[in-house]
Amino acid sequence: MRKETGKIALFGLLVALALILGLIDRAVPVSALLGGFIPGIKLGLANTVLLYAVYLMDWKSCVLLMLTKVVLSGLIFGSLNAILYSLAGGTLSLTVMLAVRKKPENAALGAAVLSGAALILILRRNPRPGGQMLIIAILTGLAGITGAVLWALMKFGPLRSILGTSLAGAVAHNVGQVLVASAVLHLPRLMTTYLPPLIGAGAAVGILTGLVTERVLAALRIHPETGKGGGKDEE
């Protein structure tokens, strides 16, 4: 009985946290601050909650948390359209994160491969990128290298990190959103034009949110592998 109560309390806290962070996401106009650099991007702080949930709760609770967050924030701040977009992003990123939560090294490898493919697509379209595209190409390249290094460190080295999961989740979120956008706009070209830059940007943000989550889990003394409290600090 006590265990159940704890679970319900944790669920409620995480939903509330996701909604608050969603509000902050909406309030920080990242895109406008960057001069319209990547239209429509957000910090994705709300998605870090899903990342904690993946390591704190079982998969059914995670799915329920995602659905609750999507529907509630859609009803409070957005429209039906907004629900559609966040549902696609949320479902894809949660599926990927749940699939790789035990093996974050595979996630890092996947994100590295996707970033590499995105970089190739960008360079094929414009072999000598300049301006915004140059920054994005560098970002995507760095994301690919980070993914590959993370994979190598986790596979062959001592690193135990949830960064891989976060990276894959963020990239999957963007893939989901662009899929819906290209369907809504009847513009399949978006998959080869807008998606590659978003994969690079998503990977960069995914690394940041992963670092934040790792610090939070460490502060709460929760061991990412077992999801149990009372473990050692992950310093």
């Binding site: 608050i20 920080v28 650099f37």
Partner: protein
């Protein structure tokens, strides 16, 4: 563990409150109203005439259809695009076209991302994140800058 949890969530609530106070207006900005120019607007073209001197076009696609707007050889003009969305609201976008390119000048969409996407010109379109496009996602409107050859190819292949 319990105390740390409490402290952590307490900090989150305080941070949220500060940010809310700091940013002030969290709700979606009120819909802006597009100005009525009173002049006759440039009609959308569905084909390019032999004697049309324009070198570039803006292809505007909405759920209601598609059409071309020629870039002016000199000077500039605005073109208002009005649509009635599925939920009955009126969607208004104002495109500003110059001899070099175009940008989204006004839109009554939430967020105004399309207005932040900047100007598309023949010079910068290979360097923009959205390449040659300006997209207003809530209004399902895509505007893209095409050279005359690209526009002619698009028309013969069928738009989209």
């Amino acid at each position: 563990m319990k105390n740390k949890l409490k402290r952590f969530f307490g900090m989150m609530v305080i941070t949220a409150a500060i940010l809310t106070a700091f940013t002030g207006n969290l709700m979606i900005p009120a819909a802006g109203k597009a100005e009525e120019t009173g002049q006759e607007e440039q009609p959308f073209l569905v084909q390019i005439a032999e004697n049309d001197p324009s070198i570039a076009y803006v292809l505007v696609q909405t759920n209601g259809g598609a059409g071309l707007l020629p870039l002016p050889l000199e000077g500039e003009y605005k073109r208002t695009v009005r649509q009635v969305m599925d939920d009955g609201t009126e969607a208004v976008n104002v495109l500003h076209l110059t001899a070099d390119g175009f940008w989204m000048e006004e839109s009554n969409c939430p967020g105004h991302d399309c207005m932040e996407e900047g100007e598309v010109t023949l010079e910068n379109r290979e360097e923009r994140i959205l390449w040659n496009m300006v997209i207003c996602l809530p209004h399902q409107l895509v505007a893209e800058l095409l050279t005359r050859e690209e526009a002619e190819r698009m028309l013969s292949d069928g738009i989209r």
